[in-house]
Amino acid sequence: MQLHEARSSIQALGADVLAVGTAAGWQAAALMDGSGGRVAMGFPCVVDPDHNVYRTFGFGRVRWWQWLTPALWRNYLRAFGRGSRQGKVTGDVGQLPGVVIVGRDRRVQYAFHARTVGDYPPISRLLDALQGTR
């Protein structure tokens, strides 16, 4: 949701967004077109059932004890407060998220590896990183 809102700022810096998930293609399609009452993300959402992206960039996995940590549930509550609602869970629930910025030359310019579920860098940090690469 935050990425959707920040997309124009990201595009103004000469970049765009690509979302990747391990879940089903229909979920990616629903995110893109905004079906089922969702807000249409507008940017491409693709699927990575073989975890190729995750392995390439070294995004980690949730350890069992992390499901018990306050940070994980704080992130859930924060997302809930922003209007996100839990739907049908598909794909790999143990996969941690992450963010990378890749230049047109295929070089990695920025990398963020989540430490727990729902752990994302602030949008301002992504915009700073994009500005730093111009």
Partner: protein, 45 residues
């Protein structure tokens, strides 16, 4: 075409195969007409 190792800042991204929502296979580089913020997220139905 999966990548053999983890890469970091400054490294060149090897060919990475992903799927479009319709199930067709593409290479990550096909989205690199511009700088790309690749966000690995969890999709919920």
């Amino acid at each position: 075409m999966s990548a053999p190792r983890t890469i970091g800042v400054g490294d060149v991204v090897p060919p990475v195969e992903i799927e479009m929502a319709n199930g067709s296979t593409v290479e990550l580089g096909s989205f690199l007409q511009q700088t790309l913020v690749v966000v690995a997220i969890r999709y919920y139905g």
